[in-house]
Symmetry: C2
Subunit: 349 residues, 2 copies
């Protein structure tokens, strides 16, 4: 069976046209993947025609009359937006018609509805949002960046397994090195959550490639391929980095264009900025999967443009063809005896 | 009485010479501040002479035969390094001979020894580390960046009071706007700690200028003057930002110097980079105070050079002359009835 992706082409800040164009770019790559464009026929059909992919045998349409808005509450949406493109796309995965959903829509609704509709994989209590981050020499996975703000130590061990498999599928790493994000690397460092998670990760060593605690200084230096954290911290880090990057870029641009001489200088050196951008491939990795569910849910940035959406579709395709979820289930089965043992010991101690 | 600062000139990665030079720069500013250089006489005296400040009436020496090393454990140092420059400097504050300590030494030891020797101000349970961060148009205070990785909601309220007073003293803000760092601004967002702290901060509104939750995207945009968080998250944010900045700078530099043409371009635009640096004044604010103690403890970066150390000394002087600690005590006294009430309500509910 081919990989099939249910594409929510409605919910986004950029509008359906950008997303359908992204779908066209994905089709151009000629991978053996099929897509179901989910959304209002009256909107989607003309767009598929406009981008010349209406008759492509790899594309089908699934009508959904509603759209989940960006400020809707999860339980509200589940109750009142049953015929929305997002909910319908999730149902296509639940029914086995597709293996993945890709959506730019409301993150809270996508995560809650995804978890309720698809349920977690056996042995996993809570899903986690993974994100690919740029490193100096190679990219790495940060997990969780926002699904579970109040996890238990056990959840961080699950995050390690999920993140490692995501790094294998998307970054092609064979034995990803896992680090636990902490405010220091010495024994005893961390809040109580991290201290508990450290013990569990240590106990699972051998099954997972755990390298110990890692500090914020070092995450970009390639010391670890997977950086594990709670969803509150991960979300703050991701957004603060985005904020800082925007600020630095803004100030630098202002300064570089302040005088005529500077403008000439920067025109001469302009290729450096393209190459800089090239080395930090944010577009390619602009989708964050909600990992640990029976089926794949990819959250693309709310304001994704066509190329970014294509990147998110590519991530979905890769996770499917690499059979990531099957491998996660195998890993979880392999570590569960360790966990049971550690838990029993903790109860005895 | 003049402001008096006890200066630990021994414990640092850059060596005592850089720190004594920093002291010289601070003296050049001719503020009404006295300094006690604490350290091994055989090292300190020649350095004071070298930089021509040995006979300056504003400088005295206090001999301490030992140095706390960077990998020492706090309780070890307290027990076995009683005659170290750091411990002696703290004692000078305890004895009322100085109002502040500035040290580049071992952070863990400085925080633990500082807390044990000086004790917290009445009404404050745990001290917090404040840091001044660069914003697009103006700087802001982030607190706590590492003192207390596992706080209770009440501690975050104290952080708000401490941070607001620090912003008043150092950034000259009259009524600093306080934000609570969170993974979203909607009601109900945050981990359980932040949800609890939000309620307390709301209850203290009127006494403090609480603006609500703030997301990572927005901290650099000037929405808030004080960003409150737990010491685990704050430390990770600070270090991750430092790591990211280093990486971006490194990659940009590589790209900008890759070809001869780019080098010419960048030479023409070189002043833009100076101006960029000027707008992000990290040196001026390179000391982070441990706030909430009976006395002031300023942690300067372990590898501070002279100008950075001068910045840390300047922060100490400013906090003393602005009578920051007296104002913190007044604020705490003012909000304590609110807190007692909120706690009583929480127990009843």
């Amino acid at each position: 069976m081919n990989a099939v992706i249910a594409v929510d082409v409605m919910g986004s800040d950029s509008g359906p046209a950008a997303l359908v164009e992204g779908l066209k770019f994905a089709l151009d790559r000629r991978a053996p993947v099929e897509y179901i464009a989910v959304g209002d026929e009256d909107v989607v059909e003309p767009l598929l025609k406009k981008f010349g992919i209406f008759k492509d045998p790899r594309v089908s349409m699934f009508h959904a009359s509603e759209v989940v808005s960006m400020d809707e509450k999860p339980m509200q949406a589940l109750k009142h937006k049953k015929d929305s493109s997002m909910i319908r796309a999730l149902e296509l995965v639940k029914l086995g018609k597709a293996q993945a959903v890709v959506s730019c829509g409301n993150t809270g609704v996508l995560m809650t509805a995804g978890t309720i509709k698809l349920r977690t994989l056996e042995g996993i209590e809570r899903p986690a949002l993974g994100s690919i981050m740029p490193g100096r020499d190679r990219n790495f996975v940060m997990i969780d960046v926002g699904a579970n703000p109040d996890p238990k130590p056990q959840n961080l061990l699950d995050n390690a397994v999920l993140g490692a498999n995501y790094a294998r599928a998307i970054l092609g790493m064979e034995d990803p090195k896992i680090g636990l994000l902490c405010n220091g690397t010495e024994e005893g460092k961390g809040n109580s959550l991290v201290q508990g998670a450290h013990k569990l990760l240590k106990a699972a060593e051998g099954t997972i490639n755990y390298a110990g605690r890692i500090e914020g200084f070092d995450v970009f230096e390639g010391d670890c391929d997977v950086v594990v954290c709670d969803g509150f911290t991960g979300n703050l880090l991701l957004k603060t980095l985005e904020g800082a990057t925007k600020m630095f870029k803004g100030i630098l641009k202002e300064e570089l264009t302040r005088t005529f001489i500077r403008k000439i200088g920067i025109w001469l050196a302009r290729k450096a900025f393209y190459d800089f951008k090239e080395r930090i491939p944010v577009e390619k990795f602009s989708g964050a999967p909600l990992l640990g569910l029976n089926g794949l849910v990819i959250k693309a940035h709310g304001s994704s443009e066509a190329r970014q959406f294509e990147g998110a579709l590519g991530i979905a395709a890769r996770c499917i063809t690499e059979q990531m979820n099957r491998k996660i289930a195998e890993d979880i089965a392999r570590i569960s005896p360790f966990i049971a043992q550690t838990k029993a010991q903790a109860l005895e101690g």
